[in-house]
């Protein structure tokens, strides 16, 4: 194990760590924000609301994220109309395309998770809220949403971790995240073990951090389900 080579490449790995963290945070925040209204639409009884959302989640969950990323980054750039449009400064940026692709992907999965959590709301809670005279919107805001978000924490933590691993695809569209730093090191020094094991170590550290964060979240918000001490 050539520790000297790893030491030399460490700065680029640290930069890659920053890129990965930013990509993950942006994707998760945007994805979750978009998933909130979509989850309500998905569980709606009105077909014109729920069917399009179902189609969206079906297509996104049924195709690899790599294809979605390529379609956004290389695919859209193919069209003259896109290149001349106002959106081009955004779409031409690898950062934007990567975050957009990741956000859309996590949004689809999160929508399904939240929809499942919403449907699992005990009927009694909603009945009680209506009995107290709460309007539709108030019920959604004060009862359904907090309750569903809590229920969704375990499943969402899984999704967040999978998205962390998914950010490694950014290296394929020229971004220098952790995986990108490892590939650069490999192509410069011809030391694949050192390069990719270092990246793996960083990812494991990030995963532990994320898992701990969610443990804290569960302790706080799912305390009522924890075993008696």
């Amino acid at each position: 194990m050539n520790l000297e080579a790893i030491g030399e490449s460490l700065p680029s790995f640290v930069e890659g760590l920053q890129v990965t963290a930013i990509l993950l945070a942006a994707a998760l925040v945007l994805g979750l924000a978009a998933a909130l209204p979509l989850a309500f639409a998905r569980t709606s009884t009105r077909a014109w609301l729920s069917k399009p959302v179902w189609l969206f989640t079906y297509v996104i969950r049924g195709t690899p994220m790599l294809v979605q990323l390529f379609l956004l980054y290389y695919g859209l750039a193919q069209f003259e109309a896109v290149r001349e449009s106002v959106a081009w400064p955004w779409l031409s940026s690898a950062w934007f395309c990567a975050i957009a692709a990741f956000a859309i992907n996590t949004c689809a999965y999160t929508t399904e998770i939240l929809a499942g959590a919403l449907e699992a709301t005990p009927a009694g809670e909603i009945e009680a809220a209506r009995a107290l005279g709460m309007g539709r919107a108030t019920v959604m805001r004060r009862i359904l949403l907090p309750s569903a978000l809590r229920r969704a924490i375990p499943a969402y933590s899984n999704e967040a971790i999978m998205m962390l691993q998914g950010t490694s695809l950014a290296s394929i569209v020229t971004l220098l995240d952790l995986t990108g730093a490892a590939r650069e090191m490999n192509s410069r020094t011809y030391l694949p073990f050192e390069a990719f094991l270092t990246a793996a170590a960083f990812y494991l550290a990030l995963t532990f951090a994320l898992v701990s964060l969610f443990h804290l979240a569960e302790r706080r918000w799912l305390a009522h389900l924890a075993p008696r001490r």
Partner: protein, 260 residues
């Protein structure tokens, strides 16, 4: 080492019969994404100058050729990991690469040039290109050159050269440094490249651009290198080289030997 586990590991990998000593069977690493030297036809077969040269050399050596495709930035690690025995992928002979592998004599030599949009009037110096995004294929001589000398310009690295051309055409990068022949055939002569042109001088400085393109082999395989050297000389002498060259180019791509 635990025998059953080791045996299982060996069975896990697809074993091919050993080809070593007599070189009756040579596995050659090729890229398949670098027209006109190496590309994949719609039916999945490999075509190109590199491919034809590789096959001609095998015929000359009376050996069986097995072409193994690999991404370019994985070629030297792949060679050292014994995925193949020789690399025929327009790989320039440079001092830096010579630290890891050995090369045969060159089988062609062509200069590198910058490509940019027509009318961009880019000044091809580190100062002139400051702030301009330069796209290169990862792990190439162009990558090294731009990384070392054009420190004021963001360098964007791609796995394949045609990804560079796609982004150049889309305007995501301002220029690329690339082999002039590959640029000409792969980009400037096709509709997508009609608004682009060569800018700046031709680069041939051996320190970065090497001494032509050669065939890389592992350092321990000196006998294979000698055989390939002989085969290159033979196909140059017996007209096979000229026949292949004329199929793709209307100029002499063998070129002159660069200054040492």
């Amino acid at each position: 080492m635990n025998r059953p586990i080791a045996l299982a590991l060996c069975l896990l990998a697809l074993a091919l019969p050993a080809a070593a000593a007599d070189w009756k069977r040579i596995r050659i690493g090729v890229e398949g994404a670098y027209p006109p030297f190496s590309e994949l036809a719609p039916d999945g077969t490999l075509h190109g100058f590199d491919i034809d040269i590789a096959r001609a050399l095998c015929t000359e050596l009376k050996a069986e050729c097995q072409l193994v495709q690999s991404p370019f930035d994985g070629m030297i690690p792949g060679l050292q990991a014994k995925k193949f025995d020789a690399i025929v992928a327009s790989m320039s002979i440079t001092e830096e690469r010579r630290k890891a592998v050995d090369f045969t004599v060159r089988y062609y030599n062509s200069p590198s040039r910058f490509v940019a949009k027509k009318g961009a009037n880019l000044v091809v110096t580190p100062a002139g290109l400051k702030g301009k995004k330069i796209g290169v294929q990862r792990a190439t001589i162009h990558d090294r050159y731009v990384t070392d000398l054009y420190k004021g310009s963001p360098v964007v690295r791609y796995t394949k050269q045609d990804e560079v051309f796609l982004d150049l055409a889309a305007g995501r990068i301002d220029a690329t440094l690339v082999d002039s022949v590959a640029a000409s055939f792969g980009f400037l002569k096709v509709p997508a490249g009609k608004d682009f042109e060569f800018t700046g001088p031709a680069f041939e400085e051996p320190k970065y651009f090497g001494w032509g393109s050669g065939i890389a082999v592992r350092k321990v395989d000196a006998d294979l290198r000698a055989k390939l050297d002989g085969a290159i000389a033979a196909i140059r002498a017996n007209g096979t080289y000229k026949r292949i060259q004329d199929k793709y180019f209307d100029f002499d791509i063998y070129g002159k030997a660069p200054a040492p």
